[in-house]
């Protein structure tokens, strides 16, 4: 049995895959934020009495993200080069917002816990000053006595020569009481001292928290008879062993959202739509990510919060502040605005009756009849207060704009849809992709209500609603590959490139990565070593990622400058059309991904069972307001719909974790995998 478990802020989702029997089940229970392991185990026990049946658990977690956002990591000390202890606090000289000079920055390691030691490496890797070992031991002792539980070591130019950092690591071993030590040349040997120091510091800060959590989880799982493997989802969409996660927790910073995108890529591709934009609408935000040709887009770094920069490859996710809880308001100049303020899930929308009196996007959906007030999602509420939502919209939006309540509610949806459409345009049109070639795949709780409007607004081909949108991330856990990304700065003119050393580096990275794959005790369909170089023309600012292909079967064999030059030329031409002949070329970084491909389950497992009928799925009708009038609208139980049925909008489909609304003028069909396709011409 293979189990995917995704712990989100509100719900913990489960996907159980029984490979032998060829069956799958899903589960969903409220999260237990104080100790995520509690909800985790409860959810497992609902399905399984004996954990010994489980071979592998793949886990997407927000423990790391929350530790960063809530600043609940370990007390951490930093040892750095003399003259540079403020690098972490000075950032890249930015500010939180363009307009309004407000806001402070509190580094996760305060200034008194950042100590300097004599040592210096120059940009070319020359050691100008050998590390003073006594000074490092003394600094570590001071930090230990200051109750630090984790230690970060980041020296200037350590990307070019790790000798002084390695010596520091060896020296502090005698005084540091635990394994929570991170050195920058191991986690990110890449040029840019702030980004490297920040990534190192955040890793150290998260280490004790993640290690404790995984240990606790392991203990309770063992108590239940579990003897299998635990794998953890990383921000890059791959998974790693629990040991690796405890050592490199910073790589899990966006674990949960990444698993969702992985699932979208798989489901959509298998269903015949390799070009897809995943749309996750939560309580406070709307996250989109573009998948072209079945492949995710990776971003080299992300900012968790102002000044909290993590530079490890992660699935590129664009977030805007428009979720179900986003508040609708009218500014002093008479314009309707949505967000960025949000009522979140607590107190939540007005209709939750928990104290918020300002209308939200969800309130508008309730008033318009699109959300069923008698069957709220989740287990907390039994009914929603439509009247309170209506009053709030009347007072806060309708009156200031001189509209009636229903028009105002529709206006809220229209402006919210326009904002979400903007995010989709950003990742598609603005990156040179034609929306006509893409489908939108909403997942999470709220997205399916807006899918129809979004495809109309942006001109997307269709929307594809997976059979279980509420557990998409848990499903992603089950299919994600094991993956380790590594970067090393080369910083050399192509003409001066040391080919032998480059080949040796690739071999080293591959050997280390393949060993980590072995650690997961997984049977892989195949393993890959994907190599790419960050390159540019001398004088150009931004680099291009130049893929050199899979090196799994050519490790140690020569890699020549002409091959690299040709690959660069091809990539540059794709990107910018015109080559700059004679301009010298620079190789900035080597990037390698060691990937273990895990076997995938057939999507047909999700298909609806035989013997369903449209009539049996019908739930009667409900009045829904759209386009200035009420429509008596048919409602169906989505999971009871048979394959191959077609429905004209307006129509509503309900399932326990989401509501789907098909706008007038659009239609919906169910495909053989249980997906619902929405479009003009389906």
């Amino acid at each position: 049995m293979l189990v995917g478990v995704d712990v989100g802020g509100t719900f913990t989702d489960f996907f159980f895959l029984d490979e032998e029997r060829g069956t799958c089940r899903i589960g969903k229970i409220p999260s237990t934020p104080e100790n995520q392991a509690v909800g985790f185990i409860d959810g497992l026990m609902r399905e399984l009495s004996d954990f010994s049946e489980i071979a592998v658990i793949v886990h997407g977690t927000t423990v790391g993200t929350n530790a960063l956002l809530e600043r609940k990591g370990a007390r951490t000390g930093l040892i750095t080069s003399r003259g540079f202890r403020d690098v972490l606090e000075m950032r890249r000289r930015d500010r939180p917002t363009t307009w309004g000079l407000r806001g402070e920055y509190l580094p996760i390691i305060p200034r008194d816990l950042r100590l300097e030691v004599p040592e210096r490496v120059l940009a070319d890797g020359t050691v100008l000053q050998v590390l003073d070992q006594d000074a490092v031991v003394k600094a570590a002792t001071v930090l230990r006595e200051a109750s630090c539980e984790a230690l970060a070591i980041a020296f200037v130019n350590a990307y070019a020569n790790e000798a002084n950092e390695a010596a520091a690591l060896a020296a502090v071993g005698s005084v540091w009481p635990n394994a929570h030590i991170t050195i920058s040349s191991e986690i990110l040997p890449e040029i840019r001292e702030f980004e490297r120091t920040s990534t190192t510091a955040l890793n150290a800060y998260m280490q004790p928290v993640i290690a404790r959590y995984l240990r606790r989880l392991d203990e309770v799982l063992e108590d239940g008879g579990f003897t299998g493997q635990i794998l953890i989802v990383q921000s890059n969409g791959g998974v790693m062993s629990a040991q690796s996660a405890a050592r490199f927790p910073v790589k899990t910073a966006l674990s949960g959202p990444a698993a969702g995108v992985i699932a979208c890529a798989y489901i959509a591709t298998e269903s015949g739509y390799p070009n897809v934009i995943s749309c996750d609408m939560g309580g406070t935000s709307f996250d989109v990510s573009l998948i072209a040709g079945g492949r995710n887009t990776l971003a080299p770094q992300t900012t968790i919060d102002f000044g909290l920069v993590v530079r490890t490859p992660m699935i590129e996710i664009t977030t805007i502040g428009a979720g179900g809880g986003s508040i609708a308001w009218v500014d002093d100049g008479g314009l309707l605005q949505i967000g960025p303020e949000s009522a979140g899930s607590s107190p939540g929308p007005v209709c939750y009756g928990q104290g918020n009196e300002r209308p939200t996007v969800t309130d508008a959906n309730v008033v318009l009849g699109r959300i069923n007030a008698d069957q709220p999602i989740g287990e907390k509420l039994t009914t929603l207060d439509v009247e309170a939502a209506r009053k709030a919209i009347q007072a806060e939006v309708a009156e200031p704009l001189g509209l009636d309540t229903m028009t105002a509610a529709e206006a809220i949806i229209r402006v919210a849809n326009a904002r979400m459409a903007g995010a989709i345009r950003l990742v598609s049109i603005e990156r040179g992709h034609d929306p006509k070639n893409f489908v939108a795949m909403p997942f999470g709780g709220g997205g399916a209500l807006h899918a129809g409007a979004l495809i109309k607004e942006v001109g997307l081909a269709r929307a594809l609603i997976p059979r279980f949108p509420g557990v998409t991330s848990a499903l992603g856990c089950v299919i994600a590959d094991v993956r380790h990304d590594t970067v090393r700065t080369v910083n050399s003119l192509l003409s001066d490139l040391d080919e032998i050393e480059l080949v040796r580096w690739i071999e080293e990275i591959a050997t280390a990565g393949l060993a980590l794959l072995d650690q997961t005790a997984t049977d892989f369909e195949k393993t890959e070593v994907l190599v790419a170089l960050d390159m540019n023309y001398v004088g150009q600012i931004h680099t291009l990622s130049v893929p050199l292909g899979d090196f799994r079967d050519r490790l140690g064999s020569p890699l020549g400058r002409p091959e690299i030059a040709a690959a660069f030329g091809q990539r540059y031409q794709e990107q910018f059309a015109r080559l700059l002949e004679d301009n010298p070329i620079r190789v900035v970084n080597l990037r390698a991904a060691v990937i273990g491909k895990r076997p995938k389950f057939p999507l047909s497992l999700l298909a609806p069972p035989e013997g369903l009928t449209r009539d049996a799925a019908a739930q009667g009708t409900r009045r829904i307001y759209d386009g200035g009038q009420w429509h008596e609208t048919e409602v169906y139980a989505r999971l009871r719909l048979p394959v191959g049925e077609r429905f004209e909008g307006p129509v509503v489909m309900e399932q326990p974790d989401t509501t789907i609304y098909v706008d007038p003028g659009l239609a919906a069909t169910t495909d053989r995998f249980g997906n619902l396709l929405i479009g003009r011409d389906v």
Binding site: F84, R93, L101, E104, L336, A411, A418, I541
Partner: protein
């Protein structure tokens, strides 16, 4: 015909669509630029401007804040000169700073936008080119006395005429830059950005119709104007004054006054700059359009919720007297415009300290410290490093100022020291916060920084263009000023400071010699005796505040230790 009207919902939707077009124009140029000042520092901007008046209708959110106000004047210049002779497919290029704002490095492109043969609005692009000639590479000449020493001056000319590119114009531009390839690359990026803007705007009008777009332009302007009037009405009527000083103009060591008198009455206010110094011989003059652009930036910082279009200027009357340092005419030098604009923002913040303490912030560090180092490497190849440095932000009613931020007129980040060390023969010995540099107060000003570096090449020539070496960034509401800007360079006779405080041209340094820049912190907010004791304790143990008096040591004593020394 009746005025076109638009419902408020469509207006909200169109606002987002139009802003996205401007943002995308910004992003297009950032991605393709060859020059780090555009690609990394985002010293560029794009927007949509009124067909008849040139007023800003829509502005990108990611461009340089100062351009948000300045570009309207650039577009107006084209309308004034060519209003009766505009054609579809025309693109104008120029860098005239007197009518078009800012300085010669900022090259502006204006493209009248037509839909089905009808002029609808103008699209414009501005970007800071790497080099446009003049006496000093990079165009920051701290001792310029005429604009001719700062670079080539281009009046508005047609780069494209009815869609036909005029290669001869490009030839002139290339012939006048030390970095013709960089200039050409940036120009291509700007042309592409405008082209993209035209395509997107055409598609938008296809969807929504021309009348609705025009109504949206009007509606957005009215929305900003109404928001601004509402804000002003909430302020107490009266006359409020502030004054501050520039150190000198780089040629004569005499302070220059920047003063502002704000009169508020009902829904309107007037901003009077009559008490400012007259135009000077050095490069810190600015044109009237730059002055208004500086005011625009200050207003947006004070009222961040008001949208960035010309409507927000409607309830404000400006008085910038002729012959003033804020009304530079040809051929006065204007290369150091940033410093004077920062001072305008400072006096606005100080005046608002009198009007409403909860709105304002104390002054930020107030200088960009443009440092250039150049020379020859061991192998004889030339090198030029050019960078701007950060400082502390001002404290405000809600808390302490930000440590080491960027200038209020910019959103640029600083290059990593490791990148600078890998590109140029220098080594930083210190890259640190500057203790005691934030002005004290109930809320403390953010800390400035200390950057110290050593020359690793046989020799180097240094130039600096900075300010706040004589007059520190003031606090507001009773807060103390931040520390002064200090600059030291090593000579055979020991460490020296420039005679003009923060401006110097062409000092020679040898291998192993150092230079050290200590940037100002921000001003404090409120009475220091009201500071929370816990915050005072924290400042101590974090070392933000020490017992040392700022600037008490000798330059040599301030230098950091050498490795191995």
């Amino acid at each position: 015909m009746a005025e076109p009207t638009i419902d408020p919902i469509t207006l909200s939707v169109l606002k987002g669509r139009l802003e996205q077009i401007a943002d995308e124009m910004d992003a297009t140029l950032f991605r393709s630029a060859f020059n780090p000042i555009i690609a990394e520092a985002h010293d560029a901007s794009h927007g949509i401007y009124h067909a008849a008046t040139g007023e800003t209708l829509i502005q990108g959110k990611s461009g340089l804040p100062i351009f948000v106000g300045a570009m309207a004047f650039a577009v107006k210049l084209v309308i004034d000169r060519y209003g009766g002779d505009l054609h579809e497919g025309d693109v104008f290029i120029f860098n005239d700073p007197y009518e078009g704002g800012t300085h010669l490095s900022d090259v502006k492109l204006v493209r009248p936008f037509y839909y089905k043969g009808e002029l609808v609005c103008h699209l414009a692009s501005v970007g800071h080119w790497h080099d446009v000639g003049g006496n000093v590479a990079g165009n920051y000449n701290p001792v310029a006395s005429e604009c001719f020493q700062e670079g080539i001056l281009i009046p508005p000319v047609r780069l494209f005429s009815r869609g036909e590119l005029r290669e001869d114009i490009i030839d002139i531009l290339r012939a006048n830059s030390r970095l013709p390839e960089s200039a050409y690359g940036d120009l291509n990026g700007q042309i592409n950005a405008l082209e993209l803007g035209c395509r997107r705007l055409t598609a938008l009008i296809d969807d929504y119709g021309l009348e609705r777009l025009r109504a949206a332009f009007k509606g957005l302007w009215a929305n900003a104007a109404k928001l601004m009037r509402t804000r002003i009405a909430g302020l107490p009527d009266g006359l409020y004054s502030a004054e501050d000083f520039m150190d000198n103009d780089g040629t004569t060591d005499v302070p220059l006054r920047i003063a502002l008198d704000i009169r508020i009455k009902g829904e309107r206010m007037s901003w009077d700059f009559s008490r400012c110094a007259p135009a000077c011989s050095g490069p810190i003059n600015i044109s009237r359009s730059t002055t208004i652009a500086g005011c625009y930036v200050a207003i947006k910082h004070l009222f961040p919720g008001v949208p960035a279009n010309a409507g927000l200027l409607e309830p404000i009357d400006f008085d910038v007297p002729k012959g003033s340092i804020l009304d530079a005419r040809w051929p006065r030098p204007v290369g150091g415009y940033t410093e004077t604009v920062l001072r305008i923002i400072d006096v606005v913040f100080q005046a608002f300290g009198e009007i409403d303490q909860s709105l304002t912030t104390a002054c930020a560090y107030g200088t960009i410290n443009a440092l250039s180092l150049s020379g020859k490497r061991e192998d004889g190849k030339p090198w030029v490093m050019f960078s701007f440095f950060g400082g502390g932000h001002g404290a405000h009613a809600e808390g302490d100022g930000l440590n080491h931020g960027n200038a209020p007129i910019s959103t640029a980040t600083i290059p990593p020291l490791e990148v600078l060390e890998s590109l140029y023969p220098i080594r930083f010995t210190t890259w640190a916060l500057r203790p005691d540099s934030g002005g004290t107060g109930c809320h403390r000003g953010g800390l400035g920084a200390i950057y110290e570096m050593e020359i690793l090449a046989p020799d180097a020539t240094l130039s600096l263009f900075g300010e706040r070496g004589r007059f520190p960034p003031p606090g507001v509401a009773g807060g103390a000023p931040g520390a002064l800007n200090r600059f030291y360079f090593e000579t055979d006779e020991g460490f020296k400071e420039p005679p003009m405080a923060s401006k110097i041209l062409g000092v020679r340094l040898k291998r192993g010699q150092r230079l050290r820049l200590e940037t100002p912190g921000g001003g404090g907010f409120g009475d220091a005796s009201l500071r929370n004791p816990e915050a005072i304790r924290r400042d101590r143990y974090l070392g933000y505040k020490t017992d040392r008096e700022v600037g008490s040591e000798t330059p040599a004593a301030r230098l950091s230790q050498s490795p191995g020394a």
